[in-house]
């Protein structure tokens, strides 16, 4: 795992792309992007709850679409489509996978 500097701290002319393996929040993925879950920063009981929907370490999650009239996002995980609020998606860390 490596730490990526934010762009504005970069001293080179070329913008520094975050390392592809840097864990990021699921909520930060764009529509159409896929990430592999690497960490669930949730208390035991909540972790158990999200596990039932397939949110387990290693599972691939794709951002399917943003829901209108609110802040929910639909994620495709396995065969299912599941809507999450950002406060939950913030606590799920993923490694972005190439398309």
């Amino acid at each position: 795992m490596s730490l990526a500097l934010p762009n504005f701290l970069s001293l080179t002319a070329e913008p520094v792309q975050p390392h592809p393996h840097t864990p990021r929040r699921l909520s930060d993925l764009e529509v159409g992007e896929t990430g592999a879950i690497c960490e669930l920063r949730l208390p035991e009981k909540l972790r158990h709850y999200v596990t039932r929907f397939g949110f387990v370490d290693g599972a691939a999650v794709t951002v399917a679409r943003r829901v209108p009239l609110g802040d929910l996002t639909v994620y495709r995980i396995g065969q299912a489509e599941v809507a999450l609020r950002p406060e939950t998606a913030n606590e799920i860390l993923v490694v972005r996978q190439p398309k």
Binding site: Y49, V50, R65, G70
Partner: protein, 636 residues
């Protein structure tokens, strides 16, 4: 027809006459049906048992206890216990505790199941199989039912049933609850008694993560090929969850729901009311007049009729909601409504019950069953009666017509009377949000369970399933609310017809109810109400719309107002401040015994309906007092 569906893997493996360990030879009496949410369990249950169903509550909890009977030729029929939808048996939620208790035979009043049917979604096998280890640990003979076989097939998925069955050591059947394909395999398991409780060496899986991993490996080892993504669902969601079209369709659906209830259900209800009134008069015409006729006709019969007249609206509403639910749209509506509901501590799942409450709180409270979180469900039940139901419309229209002169506000679009009506709708809605916010930040504060909603694939709803479920809810309503209403109606009718004056029922204002109206006059005087309104309030505890009839009787009996229309009589009798106060009172008060009865049934205790009645009465009194105070200040 898909030929592979007709076979049960286990039956293929064994000769039909083979006697296997387990419950061989012993006929099954009770069978439990278990499966995760969205596995199509209800559709399957309906197909297995059709209308031979019974609904009750498990003792002490709000979880519904649904049983049905599977008929069979000449043999003792089998009772199926439909367990709540759960992902496993870890006992985190009330549903899981109930399911585990029933399977272990520890639920009072439910006989220990002889076998269990595990229903999972065949298109979502890797995830749904994780329920299997928990269920098998109970030691009951089991059949694993892979439901939605038609979708799996259509979308190019496949699974090797023999491999799967030999991996877990129980028979496996691939069926479609929607089309009925493959149901033979279930009947074979239930009646042919060749099902085994075979040797299986399942690993002990402590954590849900381990369960998930086990399920995924099992699916792999059974040659499971997941179906292609549901193309139609993605296309439809492209429109129905589109930033612009999504909300528009959402709005259209809401308007259509209202239209269906008011344009279709309301006239049917009104027609039924007329028919029932005429029928009542004809039925009791032989009795002459007197106490017993009044009690039977105005009490028992009117109570019975007041329940029946809700049925058309309830049926229409439930057909509509079931259509939305079975097609998969309901979940989309819920995610779009989530933000609004979130502001008062609820989530998107409360949206549909609250919307239904604009027609009638009774079906709305029953619709709250779709909310899994017990506290959210309770909060939704408690605020639903604030929504402006159709029973408030008669008194609203009467008072508005009597006191508010019609003037244009927004050209032809909105007049003063329309605005007043809208204001009353808004008042109820605000009271609901206010109450929800209070409840959810105090007594009903729930542990911060994240809001996760699975968006099921869009499907054509089957008319059969829709009709069965709507009829079932209508019957539950009639039976439960009906028995309470009959008692209350009879008591009220007796009070309205006693004490006898010279052997005949007294004038209404001299009856016990009339005396109660006079008696509470000092209490309601600060609201600007006189004793006539008092009598109206007492009689309308039974049902809101009754007050209009009561006013009709009272002003009709008074020589001073006999020749006036009801509107003019009211206009002469009440000042504007009192009129506004009366409207506010009706916006807040819970004058509906049907609602109380159904809340009692759904929460399984008298505590919540009592609290709800008291809270809404207090709010109504305070609101009416304030309205009277403000309007009389402004007027003078």
């Amino acid at each position: 027809m898909i030929p592979a569906l007709r076979e049960c893997a286990e039956c293929r493996q064994r000769p039909a006459h083979s006697v296997s360990p387990g419950h061989s030879g012993k006929p099954l009496r009770t069978v439990a049906l278990i499966g995760p949410p969205n596995s199509g369990k209800s559709t399957l249950f309906n197909r297995l048992t059709a209308l031979r169903q019974k609904v009750a509550n498990y003792p002490g909890v709000t979880v519904e206890h649904r049983t049905g009977a599977i008929p069979c030729n000449g043999e003792q029929q089998i009772t199926v216990v439909d367990l709540p939808g759960v992902y496993d048996l870890t006992a985190y939620s009330e549903d899981e505790r109930v399911a585990a208790q029933v399977l272990r035979g520890e639920m009072p009043g439910v006989s220990h199941p002889d076998a269990v049917l595990i229903v999972v979604d065949a298109t979502n096998l890797e995830r749904h199989l994780s329920i299997v280890p928990d269920v098998l640990r109970t030691g009951l003979p089991a059949l694993l039912i892979l439901n939605m076989a038609d979708l799996l097939e259509k979308r190019g998925g496949r699974v090797d049933l023999v491999a799967l069955a030999s991996q877990i050591g129980i028979p496996v059947a691939l069926v479609s609850g929607a089309s009925g394909a493959g149901m033979d395999a279930i009947h074979n398991f239930l009646f042919a008694r060749n099902a085994s409780n075979g040797q299986r060496a399942l690993p002990v899986l402590q954590t849900p993560v381990a369960c998930q991993r086990w399920a995924r490996n099992l699916a792999d080892a059974s040659g499971y090929r997941a179906p292609l993504p549901a193309l139609w669902t993605q296309r439809l969601d492209g429109v129905l969850l589109h930033p612009v079209w999504g909300p528009l369709v959402f709005l259209l659906v809401i308007v259509a729901l209202f239209q269906a209830v008011f344009a279709l259900g309301q006239p049917l209800s009104n027609g039924l009311q007329t028919v029932l009134n005429d029928l009542g008069r004809t039925l009791f015409s032989w009795m002459g007049s007197g106490l017993w006729k009044s009690v039977l006709l105005d009490g028992v019969w009117r109570g019975f009729a007041s329940i029946l007249v809700f049925l058309p609206q309830i049926l229409v509403l439930f057909l509509f909601i079931t259509l939305l639910e079975d097609s998969g749209y309901l979940a989309r509506a819920a995610v779009m409504a989530d933000r609004t509901m979130q502001k008062v501590g609820l989530n998107g799942k409360s949206f549909v019950p609250l919307l239904s409450a604009y027609a009638c709180a009774v079906p709305a409270i029953m619709a709250a069953r779709t909310i899994e979180n017990r506290r959210d469900r309770l909060a939704t039940i408690l605020i639903a009666p604030f929504m402006t139901c159709s029973a408030r419309l008669p008194i609203y229209t009467l008072m508005i017509a009597a006191f508010i002169p019609e003037r244009a506000l927004l050209g032809p679009l909105l007049g003063t009377r329309g605005a007043a009506m809208l204001g009353l709708y808004a008042l109820g809605f605000l009271a609901a949000l206010f109450t929800a916010a209070i409840l959810k930040s105090s007594v009903l504060k729930s542990s911060p369970m994240p809001f996760i909603l699975e968006l099921p694939e869009y499907r054509w709803p089957t008319l059969r399933s829709m009709l069965i479920r709507s009829a079932d809810r209508a019957w539950v309503f009639t039976k439960n609310a009906g028995s309470v209403i009959l008692i209350i109606a009879t008591v009220l009718a007796l009070l309205a017809n006693l004490p006898l004056a010279g052997g005949a029922p007294p004038e209404l204002h001299q009856s016990f109810i009339g005396r109660m109206g006079h008696f509470i006059e000092p209490v309601i005087q600060p609201l600007g109400f006189n004793w006539r309104v008092g009598i109206g309030l007492v009689t309308s505890v039974f049902a809101r719309e009754v007050i209009v009839g009561t006013f009709g009787t009272l002003y009709g009996a008074d020589p001073a107002s006999r020749d006036l229309t009801l509107q003019s009589a009211l206009h002469n009798d009440l000042n504007p401040a009192g009129a506004v106060a009366l409207l506010v009172f009706f916006a807040f008060a819970l004058q509906c015994t049907s609602t109380l009865a159904v809340v009692k049934r759904e929460t399984n205790s008298w505590k919540w309906p009592a609290f709800q009645f008291a809270y809404m009465a207090a709010l109504a009194y305070a609101g009416a007092f304030l309205a009277h105070f403000l309007v009389s200040r402004l007027w003078s």
